[in-house]
Structures are given as C-alpha cells and as structure tokens.
Amino acid sequence: MTVAPPAAAKQFTYRRPRVTLALLRIPLIIHAGLVVAQPILAGYFLSGEADAMAAHGPIGSSLFLIAMIQLFAAILYFWPGGGRAWPALITVGLIVAELTQVVFGYQQNFAVHVPLGTAIVITAVWLTVWSFRPGARRGRRQEVKK
C-alpha cells in the first residue's frame, strides 16, 4: 500500500459572525414576540373576546413580511457574515408555513391551522433562542483559496 504524498495543506478560516448575528437577532426577536402573541390572542377569541381577532388577523397576515426581513438578515449572516446557512433555510420554511397558515386561518380549517401554528411558534422561538447561544457565534469552516 502506497501512502499518498502529503498534498499542500489546506488552510481553513472560521470567520465569526458578529455584526450580522446582532442584525439577525433583531427580526428574530420581533418575529418570535409576534408569533407568541398569536396563540394567546386566538385563545382569548375562543374564550369569547371577539376583539382579539382584530389583532390576530392583521398580525398573522403581516408575519411573513417580518419573516422576509429575517430572511434577508439570515442571508447576510451566511454571507458575508460567515455563519451557517440553515437559519436562512428555516426562515424560508417559516415564510411558506406562515402564508399557508393565513390561508387555513381564513378558511377556518382548524385541523391544519392549530397544529401548524404550534409548529410555527416552536420553530420561531427555538431559532431566536439558538441565536443567543454560543453555537450561533461559531463560523462555518471555509477553505482559504490561494
């Protein structure tokens, strides 16, 4: 068995996202805050407070816009920030889920609206919590091109 000659050692950098991470946290917090308000408002509505729907509807309809700002920040976090790509991918998923959620909400199809809403809240809150953990500050491995 022949041993391959040592190739020119590849060099890697781990650029730590700092400014872009701080930037990403802003839409994440706003998004999570509004998303958490949704089940509370829905609960009040189902308890008989008809006024709660006057907030639940507009918030729900505009959530995807905040998610789009979040997507922009998540892309900046990936490049040039040097962070992971999956926060951007999850945000794309959230945008799709939130638009679907609006449709099922207006259709009053609760068999989809309630479980999907639960999933959206969990994902949005988890992503926000993650952004404050050490893992979010670690950059991805990037090869240095010579």
Binding site: I40, A42, A111, V114, P115, T118, I122, V125, W126
Partner: protein, 130 residues
Amino acid sequence: MKSLVVLRVVAAVHAVTVCLQPVLAGAYLNGSSAAMRMHEPLGLGTAFVSLGQMLVATIYWRSGGRGSAALVTLLLLAAESFQIGMGYSRQLALHIPVGIAIVAIACALAVWTFRPAAAVRRTTPIEVPA
C-alpha cells in the same frame, strides 16, 4: 446508563402524545366531536406519562446523568396538571399558549435525550496514583 435508553423511549412517547393534542384540538374546532373524545383522555394520559418519566429521569439522574431532565419533567408535570384544569374550565386564553409551551418543552427534551450530551456522565472517574 441503561436508564437513558428508557428515558429516551418515554420522552419520545411523551413528545408524540403531546404533538397529537393540537391536531385533535384543531379537528374538534372543525366540528369533530370524536376528536374531543380523544383529546381528553390523551391529555390525562400525558400527565401519567409525565409521572412515569419523572421516575425514569430521577433514576437517570441518580445513576450519573444530568439532573436537568428530571427538573424539566417536573415542570412538564406541573404544566400538564395546570393544562388539564384550564381545559376543563374552558380557559382557552391560557389553555392554548400553555399547550404550545408543553409541546415545545416535551419535544426539546425528547430531542436532547438523543444528543451526545445526554450520554455524558456528570462525574468522570479519576485515576488516583498509588
């Protein structure tokens, strides 16, 4: 830690049961009374699963695992008991947000038990030179 394997099974069953609850609640709001006939016993059942999980998590903790699993299970047990009360008294403004929190915590705990950190012992044996 054999107890970790048991904890994984119980936590996974717990997470699946808890995830079914919003699906059934949604089906009930769509007009299916059969869904409510399942939502109610399943909700009561999750509290009993929590009791079992409490036992397993405590054994896991005492046999070298993290104590946080038992603490989180205790929190789940408290939240589920509260949730049952709020469900029967139709306090939906509390029942729905608390329900989402329960699903989030139960799923997070189940995922955590399968992560490498859960298999790490709190105390590592130290070799004492003779």
